[in-house]
Amino acid sequence: MGTAVPVAEQLSLLRRFTEVLASASSVEELVSVLFDRAQRTLGTVAGALLDLDGETLKVTGSFGYPPEIVETWGEVPLSAPLPAPEAVRTGEPVVIGTRAEYEQRFPSATGIVADEGAVLAIPLTDDGRPVGSLGLRFPTARRFSDDDIEVLVAAAQQFTLARSRLALLDGERTARADAEKANGRLTFLASASREIATSLDYERTLSAVARMAVPGLADWCAVDLLDDDGELRQLAVAHVDPDKVTMAQELRRRYPPDPDAPYGLPAAIRSGRSELIEEIPRELLEEAVADKPELRALLDELQLRSSMVVPMVLHGEAIGAISFVMAESGRRYTPLDLQLAEELAARAAIAIGNARLYGAEQRARSAAEEARSRTEMLVELGDRLTSSPELLSAAEAFARFLADEQGDGVTVCLLDRDGIASLTAHARTQDREVCDASQRGIAPLDDDDPDDPVNRAVLDRVAVTGRSPDDAWIPRWLGSDRAWHSAVVVPIASGARTLGAVVIGREEDRAPFSPDEHRFIDDLADRAAQALDNARLYSEQRFIADTLQTSLLPPSVPHVPGYDIAFAYRPAGDGRQVGGDFYDVVDMDTSVILVVGDVSGKGSRAAAVMALSRYAIRTAALRSTRPSEMLETVNESLMRQSAHDRFTTAAVVRLASMDGRMTAAVAGHPLPIVVRADGAVERIGRPGSLLGVFPDPTLHDVGGHLHPGDLLILYTDGLTDARRGDDRFGEERLVEVLSLRSDGPEELVGRVMEAVTTFAADDLSDDIALLVARRR
């Protein structure tokens, strides 16, 4: 010992020891390296590591000592007369070479050791401070050189350094783990907040938040909301195991929380304050299942350990709560966790507030939208039906409208006065054309079937709703070529009068009619009923007017030798009223008599006067060749009728078949016009009295001649009085059209009528009768 080589060898051992210490990653590993080297390199039989804790040295690691010794001597006071405390107290290694030496120096501790070996106690210092000592026991007596001791002290120092480094590292690791845990919380809070803030569907969002909380922040997480009735409703419950979720939901259903419970969810809701139970007391759980023994086993299985309940408070009132529970994982909540949970609940409450506000606004807005769009729809329907005054076209327009707006297929069925289905219009959303229902194989109304929904609608005014395939009437009324899914039948009634019914069907891809939609369709049918009733009246009047008119006026004019004759007749406005204009062409063999007249007023009385005038002229023509006499006959007839508030104007021209001689008489009527073959325009006749007003009318016959190619034009003032704004078609425009060359009377009549119709934009307020003759 004490030679250079052993010292060098010892230094090399020390270096290797240092290297091994450096590679240790934990204090435990470090201690085991230390003890291993102590045994193998130094040949020690036992060793102990003692750490200074205040005035006590504690054994934190040992080898070679029997357990009872470690137990007895696990802690020794710093003041004890033993090698290790002395080394710590003095800061110097205690070196004892022999048993005798030991007994001499530490007489009171001789019971500890039984063998003869040497003992070393090396103080451990960290940064100059005593931190403990390392005790080593050798199997035999031994002498130590100063170098030996120096190397051992150096090795112990290395150990202490390495241990401090590892302790620091551990602290750092713990700190980092804590930091990561905190970071995890922040991440959760951030993502949960984002989830809450970005979606207005807060129920779905809160469920997502509950799911996000497990298993990281809770073994169980549940979200409860107070509904409008103040009842707690569990919105979501999350656990990693779906079976447990189902179980929890079932439990909740069977055992709803007692609203007066002094703790837990109800208490948090009532007080608006959060609750943290770091360690759920067993008694609390026992109490909870005290009257529900069947839950006992379940409770044991759940292993509830720690819980938090945080209310979501909006405007000072709890609107719900989020509950977090730690169970089988054995973790516990701390006030830090509660802080996070409260933060989350606060954000959730704000999000719910916003979402509810938004939802309320949306609902108000969509209700307003809906109301407006429905009003618009009603107006639109009114407009469309009013612009289709004929009954058939109005029914078609109604069917078209409903097919566009409410259903995929529509059948409108209208009754005639006898209650028989007289008219059916069928429309489909995809088809442009509205057709007669029979074209879709839709049978007419079966009067004998009291269960038929259309019969019920028209007879009892009941609306009927149906679903396929239960209701066989759906394909019967809408056609069996489509898969109807649902249908409604709504009566069309105006006042006390039932006009018919409408059947509306929807196919699979559209939702069935809601009660709300059903009501709206009722409204639409009511609106349509008014328009259809008007249209029905209109159509009847028009039919009567047409019939009367055709019976009073010649539908065609006779072929007359020497002349080509054409005429046009157009009743005023919509043609619902019998007009007062009339015309006639009477073939008298050697001559032809042309008549155009105008009875003041309209309607059936005017029609009667018209018929009278026309037949009076025909009768007079049989006995007189003078137009003025024919007109006088009319006057006499009218005067006998004593219809003083009505008068007639007329122009009568007699044309000789052979030579074109003509005689004209005019009674309060525009003078007939002659357009010569060369385009020159003349008027024929002289103004005479109105007919039916005075017993002694002033009437004149005026003669003239119509040459081949010349045109004679008789017309009523409906033509020249046709109005556009404050302008009238007038004689000038008429003459302008007439003086253009034309191929014949037909073309000329067509051109005049086109000119006046265009001028008046199709809105003629008076009848027009026009008669044109051209001499061949």
């Binding site: 008068f647 005019v666 009527h669 525009p670 009318p697 109005r723």
Partner: protein, 119 residues
């Protein structure tokens, strides 16, 4: 197209009804109501001032004639202040010049229809 304005004015003190604008199927009822007001009660004379008219059709003509007939039945009469040429020509065509009493504006002593030309 808008309807040219048709206006009536009733001077009940002097029994004068003035009409301006187009007298046709659509405006005749308005004039008829004005005339009714003017001859309400036992008034049997009336002056119808047509100077403001721009147009008259057979409906207008009929109203003039029926008014004339009604007043005659009561033993009274109707005076018509001649309208512009285009209006008066209709009376001429119906040969009513001698059947109705036409007067000039000065015969009723004022120019009350001045400024009532349709705008």
């Amino acid at each position: 197209m808008t309807q040219p304005p048709f206006e009536t004015k009733v001077d009940e003190d002097r029994s004068v009804v003035s009409a301006s604008g187009d007298l046709d199927l659509s405006s005749a009822p308005a004039l008829e109501r004005a005339i009714e007001r003017a001859i309400d009660g036992d008034n049997d004379t009336l002056t119808l001032d047509l100077r403001g008219l721009r147009f008259i059709d057979s409906t207008g003509l009929r109203l003039v004639l029926t008014t004339d007939a009604r007043l005659r039945e009561r033993g009274g009469h109707l005076s018509v202040v001649r309208g512009p040429e285009v209006v008066h020509r209709v009376f001429e065509l119906a040969v009513l010049e001698d059947r109705l009493t036409f007067v000039d504006g000065r015969d009723i002593g004022d120019g009350s229809t001045d400024g009532e030309e349709p705008t």
